[in-house]
């Protein structure tokens, strides 16, 4: 909270949190957080207990989050759209003792006690379960295994260090379209506050670009964070391109050159594409003039070291594909309740995100895909990204997702699901021929045309769902 208090002293009139109804300045923020902290205390929340936030409204979510940090209670977002079973699992794993909800919507920034509803979970202990760590923790979820998501504990200090990586990128007013209930956009909002930027919230329809563009112009947003799902929907709506002073930021998954060009054409020519992970924070980011066929994610950010290593952990020369590893200030050191995975991913001061990639001679990072996703077909290494990039350069293809068909005889047979442009009549056979010409032995042996690529809430393609679709498609007619 020291950062926010500092900005409150230096720039008390600067807006900190803004939505359509409210504007809270940095000067107003510390006393407001203090007031919320008092509410939480009166509702039985004490330092070191772990609290679940089940608040979908963005502004109160941030205020309660900050108040919990000040109170030194640990917290986890319980997405209101998740299933009760998932919520119970997370609460059990983290020993959540209290769950906070809004009692009846969010009617005023100056909320009172009666605006919050706190549920006490039976059986939970109100004790610090990580005795050695005195800092309050925010738990974030990241993709995991069949046992559930991996849980990443991070602190305000870690976030503050991550925020410093943006030094040199001068943004003042930041809007993130994804819900605050997702951990990555939540971190982005907190980091904005730690950098003294104004964090804006948009409550309108995130599928209508005209309305978003209007809000962006009215509120002088100069950095707009979107997901790939937003980009796919919004970039098809021309006519409201933002002024070049407003940048668009996208990442978390592979962004093809085709989509980059479409964003630059219809949304904003000032496009940043980044690469990062929940565990490490943002690792690299392009500048707007770095988008080409190589589809790089830019140079490592300030304070982050990236290396590409072979299977023995030895760095390999520029241009060669290997495993990505990163280190720097502001990274977590392991997962909650998963020592095995922690030992696998965090080694010798490095974090291994599980991605393959290469570094160009001019120092730009190119991500080839997930290490676990690499397919080995009868001894040939095949990278999904290589297939996806080839297909996404086809003029009639919107998106492609490569996946393996597992075979006892051949290993992993590459296949690809393809989403076509509206009105395209191209056949799977024609796409097969196209890919064989370009990829040779590395071409997919099955092409499936899908109406719409199955994606999660942040726009990442679900290859598991696609593989299931492919399985149901086996027969001679």
């Amino acid at each position: 909270m020291g950062k926010i208090n500092g900005f409150a002293q230096l720039y008390p009139a600067r807006e900190a949190l803004v939505d359509e109804r409210y504007s809270i300045s940095f000067g107003e923020l510390p006393p407001l957080i203090h007031k919320y902290e008092q509410y939480l205390c009166e509702l039985g929340i004490s330092p070191n207990c772990t609290v679940g936030l089940s608040i979908s409204e963005q502004l109160p979510h941030v205020l309660v989050c900050l108040a919990l940090l000040k109170l030194r209670a640990h917290q986890v977002t319980l997405d209101t759209r998740e299933s009760p079973q998932y919520i119970t699992t997370i609460c059990d794993r983290l020993d959540v003792s209290r769950i906070i909800r809004l009692a009846d919507g969010f009617n005023s920034v100056a909320a009172g006690l009666r605006d919050f509803d706190v549920t006490i979970r039976e059986g939970a202990t109100v004790e610090p379960f990580l005795q050695h760590d005195r800092d309050p923790l925010i738990f974030a979820m990241t993709s995991g295994t069949t046992q559930g998501p991996r849980i990443v504990p991070y602190t305000e200090h870690i976030l503050a260090r991550q925020a410093m990586r943006y030094d040199g990128f001068n943004f003042d007013r930041v809007l993130a379209l994804p819900s605050i209930q997702h951990d990555t956009p939540k971190r982005l909002r907190l980091m904005s506050l730690f950098r003294g930027e104004t964090s804006l919230f948009y409550r309108g329809n995130t599928s209508t670009w005209r309305d978003i563009a209007q809000f962006v112009a009215e509120k002088n947003v100069d950095f707009l964070r979107i997901t790939i799902l937003n980009a796919i929907t919004l970039s098809k709506q021309p006519g409201h391109r933002l002024a070049p002073t407003t940048s668009i930021d996208i990442g978390s998954t592979h962004i093809s050159i085709g989509l980059r060009k479409l964003i630059q054409k219809n949304l904003s020519e000032t496009l940043y594409v980044h690469y990062g992970s929940t565990e490490s924070g943002r690792i690299a980011m392009t500048t707007p003039d770095e988008h080409d066929e190589r589809e790089c994610v830019g140079q490592p950010l300030k304070g982050v070291t990236v290396e590409i290593v072979d299977g023995h952990g030895v760095p390999i020369p520029a241009g060669q594909i290997g495993e990505i590893r990163v280190r720097g200030e502001g990274m977590v050191s392991g997962y909650h309740d998963d020592l095995e995975e922690s030992a696998r991913r965090f080694r010798d001061g490095w974090y291994y995100p599980g991605d393959l990639g290469s570094i160009t001679v001019d120092g730009k990072l190119i991500v080839s895909g997930r290490k676990d996703d690499m397919m080995i077909l009868n001894g040939f290494n095949i990278y999904p990204a290589e297939i996806e990039r080839a297909f996404e350069r086809h003029p009639e293809v919107v998106a492609a997702a490569a996946f393996p068909i597992r075979s006892r005889s051949h290993g992993e047979i590459p296949a690809v699901a393809v989403e076509l442009k509206q009105g395209s009549k191209i056949t799977e056979q024609a796409l097969m021929r196209y890919s064989r010409e370009r990829l040779g032995i590395r071409c997919p042996r099955k092409v499936i045309i899908v109406d719409r690529m199955p994606r999660n809430a942040l726009g990442k393609v679900s290859t598991k769902k696609i593989a299931a679709m492919a399985k149901g498609n086996l027969a001679i007619p």
Partner: protein, 87 residues
């Protein structure tokens, strides 16, 4: 499943497996009609083509036919019978 569908499937598989000799082979039409057969020896499949043929069969039908098993099948009609037995 109809036998002629299996035969058409085998011809498609050979084309996908880059066996160009099947395209103009004199026995092609007779095989498709169930009135003739073509020996694999006549098609001169190399090891890569055999692998591709097995992969095509597996990804499109779920039938796992290894190159070793394919080696024991002498003709297209034999392959058609093998596939019919699986389905």
């Amino acid at each position: 499943m109809k036998q002629n569908n299996i035969r058409q499937f085998i011809l498609d598989a050979l084309e996908q497996a880059s066996v160009p000799s099947i395209r103009d082979h004199e026995g092609r039409a007779a095989f498709l009609d169930g009135k003739g057969d073509v020996n694999f020896d006549a098609l001169e499949l190399d090891s890569l083509a055999r692998m591709e043929l097995c992969i095509y069969i597996e990804v499109n039908t779920g039938i796992e036919l290894t190159p070793d098993q394919l080696d024991k099948i002498k003709s297209l009609e034999g392959l058609a019978r093998a596939l019919a037995a699986y389905t």
